[in-house]
């Protein structure tokens, strides 16, 4: 689709029966910052599919939405890639947004490409930084490729909306303290929607939902501590933190995939990240180097993890974790 009269940035709000995924709030905040930098400021428009309430309106406004377009159909309360592609593409056709941001969750990475193919536009995957390009003010979207070894800045100059997915934790969600509520409008879509995909069963993965993407403190385990993971969890618990891990332990079947930090795992930005026995491969650091503070413990003084650490300790992580446990207990 070609650009016509669009003058706003769509943010897809990912929610599960009304519970909003944090990444969508992060994107609202980032979109707000971006729109403010435009010569002619544009609106941040939250896209909501499913049952809508005033509480949601207020919350989306707090995090940066100026306007909300809703399609309040009960059959949209649950995400479905086919139905959501159809409704969102119809909205794009009706409103001609300049840009559209979608959280880089499993859902978002399934949905966004399908939409971009339907409306014929460019999609940049896993953006880590969004700037405005020179005079044109196109989005200049930077993303890692080649397992984090290379960064590319991508623009979509002739097609609209300029689309991007962004992983959770890449941007920060902040409230703006609005004086007025965002405006709202309903997108009437009355045609029947059916999806051939049928959900047969849903199993929650862990009894304790790990949400390392939101954690303030993370103790992260690598191959170097695979024999003392109980110590890692114990110290994490003492510090009120969560346990995460490198891919080495996930591939080894020792930790579940949702603990994985890095290029192909979660992107995290806690106040404190303690890396124990992690070498610091770029695919790992791509997911944690935005943490406020990083402590690294490794026996190898040349381990690359020390390059991103604010405090680097050369030593045996097992012995140090034992001491930490002891001193925290005291």
């Amino acid at each position: 689709m070609k650009y016509t009269d669009g003058n706003n940035c769509f943010v897809y709000i990912d929610h599960d029966e009304g519970t909003i995924n944090q990444v969508s709030l992060e994107l609202l905040t980032e979109a707000k910052h971006l729109m403010k930098r435009l010569k002619a400021p544009e609106k941040v428009v939250a896209i909501w599919l499913g049952t809508f309430t005033d509480d949601i309106l207020k919350m989306l406004g707090d995090y940066g939405a100026d306007h909300i377009i809703t399609c309040e159909r009960e059959d949209l309360n649950q995400y479905d890639v086919m139905k959501h592609t159809t409704v969102i593409s119809e909205m794009i056709d009706a409103y001609h947004p300049q840009s559209m941001l979608i959280g880089g969750t499993v859902k978002g990475r399934e949905l966004a490409p399908r939409i971009s193919a339907r409306v014929h536009t460019g999609l940049t995957a896993d953006a880590t930084q969004i700037d405005l390009d020179g005079e044109t003010h196109h989005l200049a979207i930077t993303r890692p490729a080649f397992g984090g070894n290379l960064y590319a800045t991508i623009i979509t100059p002739d097609h609209f909306p300029q689309m991007a997915t962004i992983r959770p934790g890449v941007f920060e969600a902040k409230t703006f303290g609005h004086t007025s509520l965002p405006t709202q409008e309903t997108f009437q879509y009355d045609k029947a929607l059916h999806s051939p995909i049928e959900v047969m069963a849903i199993e929650e993965k862990d009894t304790k939902r790990t949400n390392i993407a939101d954690a303030k403190l993370i103790v992260s385990a690598g191959r170097g501590v695979k024999n003392c993971l109980n110590l890692v969890s114990d110290v994490a618990a003492h510090l009120n933190g969560e346990v995460a891990s490198s891919r080495a332990l996930v591939d080894g079947g020792i930790m579940s995939k949702n603990h994985q930090v890095g290029q192909t795992g979660h992107t995290v930005r806690p106040s404190l990240y303690i890396a124990c026995g992690i070498s610091g491969a770029v695919q790992h650091t791509a997911g944690m180097d935005k943490s406020d503070t990083i402590i690294a413990i490794n026996t190898d003084e040349n381990a690359p993890i020390f390059d991103v650490a604010d405090l680097g300790i050369v030593g045996d992580a097992q012995a140090i974790l034992k001491q930490l446990q002891k001193q925290l207990d005291a």
Binding site: A145, F146, H159, L239, L272
Partner: protein, 261 residues
């Protein structure tokens, strides 16, 4: 069950080098492999064929060197292989790549198209879903397991962040697979010898129903403006301490930073 598998030849990422001056990738002399998720896709196709019968056809878009990869896939047991290669395809982004792949797939009738979740070079995970959209068939990404195939219905497990979904979808359909979905088998010498000489199909732009305006750099909605390495971060001093001192230092540091402990 007739299955199409999408496979991409990728550089062995751990060995990738970048020209310090230009920031461009040095592809010359870099060993290539079949994208790991795509080997999973091939293996899954082989297992499905063993259970449900049918035919496996691999498609790749790439330079003519990708023929070697297709020969290896013959040795693994696929029935047919097609290389889409043309100067006009070069520089295609995911939209254009998917458009080209879908045009080739449209010439056949497949029950299932299997793509890898993600290629380890471009890393976008976009091609599978986009091909499905161009083919106007349903798709499920992040498939962890195919449970069964009955009366044209495919039952799969999808791996989301916090939950596993069991989904039914009617074929024709497309899935993108995670490496959990199947473990590639070892090739035996006999098959390598016997099968890798099977003929390859080769298609160019002229064989497909695509317009030049929709492919290659020109037909790609996204443009790579620049590429660069992440600037090296400053080295911080490292300390070698005995465990007790180390633990004390860490706790002092945490306290100084905001007192989590």
């Amino acid at each position: 069950m007739n299955i199409a598998v999408l496979v991409k030849q990728v550089p062995d990422t751990t060995e990738i080098k970048i020209d310090k001056e230009t920031g461009a990738l040095i592809r010359k002399g870099i060993p290539t492999i079949t994208n790991p998720d795509d080997l999973t896709g091939v293996e899954l196709a082989l297992q499905l064929k063993e259970t449900y019968g049918g035919n496996i056809h691999a498609f790749t878009m790439g330079p003519s060197s990708a023929k070697n990869m297709l020969r290896e896939l013959y040795a693994r047991g696929i029935d047919e292989a097609t290389l889409l290669s043309d100067k006009a395809f070069a520089g295609s982004d995911t939209w254009a790549t998917s458009h080209i792949l879908a045009s080739a797939l449209k010439k056949h009738a497949f029950d299932l198209v299997i793509a890898g979740r993600q290629a380890i070079d471009g890393d976008t995970a976009q091609v599978g879903p986009q091909v499905a959209e161009f083919l106007k068939i349903p798709h499920v990404s992040y498939v962890d397991r195919v449970i069964d195939y009955n009366d044209g219905m495919l039952k799969v497990k999808k791996n989301e962040e916090h939950r596993m979904l069991t989904l039914n979808l009617p074929t024709p359909a497309l899935i993108t697979v995670l490496d959990e979905a199947a473990k590639p088998r070892y090739m035996n010498m006999f098959d390598i010898f016997r099968r890798s000489h099977l003929p390859l199909n080769q298609l160019t732009c002229d064989d497909l129903d695509v317009s030049l305006a929709d492919i290659g750099i020109k037909g790609s909605p996204t443009k790579v403006k620049k590429t660069f390495n992440k600037s090296a971060t400053q080295k911080q001093p490292k300390q070698t301490l005995n465990p007790e001192q180390a633990a004390r230092t860490i706790l002092d540091f945490i306290e100084a930073k905001g007192g989590q402990s």
